[in-house]
């Protein structure tokens, strides 16, 4: 077994274990830290799957931006009394039944499907994904790119307005 396959399996195990740990921790801050570990190992898997640009985007946006936002939200919504913010769990039976059934049926869907591929090497010859993605953003995917910019602007304004002291939700 080559070293790169061992790295691949280790990253997979870390991603799965840290995702399961979010389920069993009751401290929100530890949950956010476990999610950071999970997202970093997923970005490592992206690098191994020839998606370097996506891996860097994942690190920059998810573990840099979204998790910072979530930790900030934990800080704001906590009572800040010195004790850790503890989450109560409810509906364990319902959640376990639904999660187990999804996890049992999803692999059954693709267990008897054979996925054919036209490459067998780990990295194909002359492969440069960042270059290709940059060209595709400016040629084939121009319209989704621009629409994404408008969507980001809308989300920015919406979040800023709904969090500000704007008296839209005042008691009627």
């Amino acid at each position: 077994m080559k070293l790169i396959m061992i790295i691949f399996y280790v990253l997979e195990v870390i991603a799965g274990l840290s995702a399961v740990c979010i389920l069993f921790t009751r401290n929100i801050f530890y949950g956010a830290l476990f999610l950071i570990v999970c997202l970093l190992s997923i970005s490592g898997i992206f690098i191994l799957l020839n998606a370097e640009f996506l891996a860097v985007t994942q690190i920059l946006i998810y573990t840099g931006g979204v998790l910072l936002l979530i930790v900030f939200g934990v800080m704001v919504t906590g009572k800040l009394l010195g004790k850790p913010l503890v989450v109560n769990n409810k509906y364990w039976l319902l959640g376990c039944i639904l999660g187990a059934s999804v996890f049992a049926t999803l692999p059954k869907l693709f267990s008897d499907v054979k996925f054919y591929s036209n490459n067998s090497a780990l990295t194909p010859e002359g492969y440069n994904s960042i270059n290709q993605i940059g060209i595709l953003f400016m040629t084939d995917y121009v319209l989704p790119f621009e629409v994404t910019g408008i969507l980001l602007l809308i989300a920015l304004i919406g979040a800023a307005v709904s969090i500000s002291a704007f008296t839209l939700f005042k008691k009627l």
Binding site: A15, A19, C38, L49, V66, G95, S117, I133, L151, L152
Partner: protein
């Protein structure tokens, strides 16, 4: 080439764990963490199927747009959570039930 089946099993695990977090956890911010996990499971599938056809970049482009939409969702969702916390003084989801009374 890495085995696609492994990544599919991993993303099935991530998807079911995210679903369980959304149902079980009682705090709104924890539910947002679960949604991020669901979106990452979808991204993992897209990149894995892109790897089968490395000359096309459809899966990777789709995953990039999924990431952008996830960022918008996290920002707006967290703003709503903070607003609800200001109004109800709690972020526990089952206590936010004004229509039930």
């Amino acid at each position: 080439m890495f085995p696609v089946e492994h990544i599919l099993y991993l993303s099935a695990l991530l998807f079911s764990v995210g679903l369980m977090i959304i149902i079980i956890k009682q705090n709104a911010i924890m539910v947002l963490l679960g949604i991020e996990l669901l979106l990452n499971a979808a991204n993992l599938n897209l990149v894995a199927f892109n790897q089968l056809q490395p000359q096309t970049f459809t899966g990777q482009m789709f995953a990039l747009f999924v990431i952008v939409v996830a960022v918008c969702e996290a920002a707006v969702g967290l703003a709503i959570v903070l607003r609800v916390y200001k109004y109800y003084q709690t972020s526990i989801l089952s206590e936010i039930s004004e229509l039930k009374e």
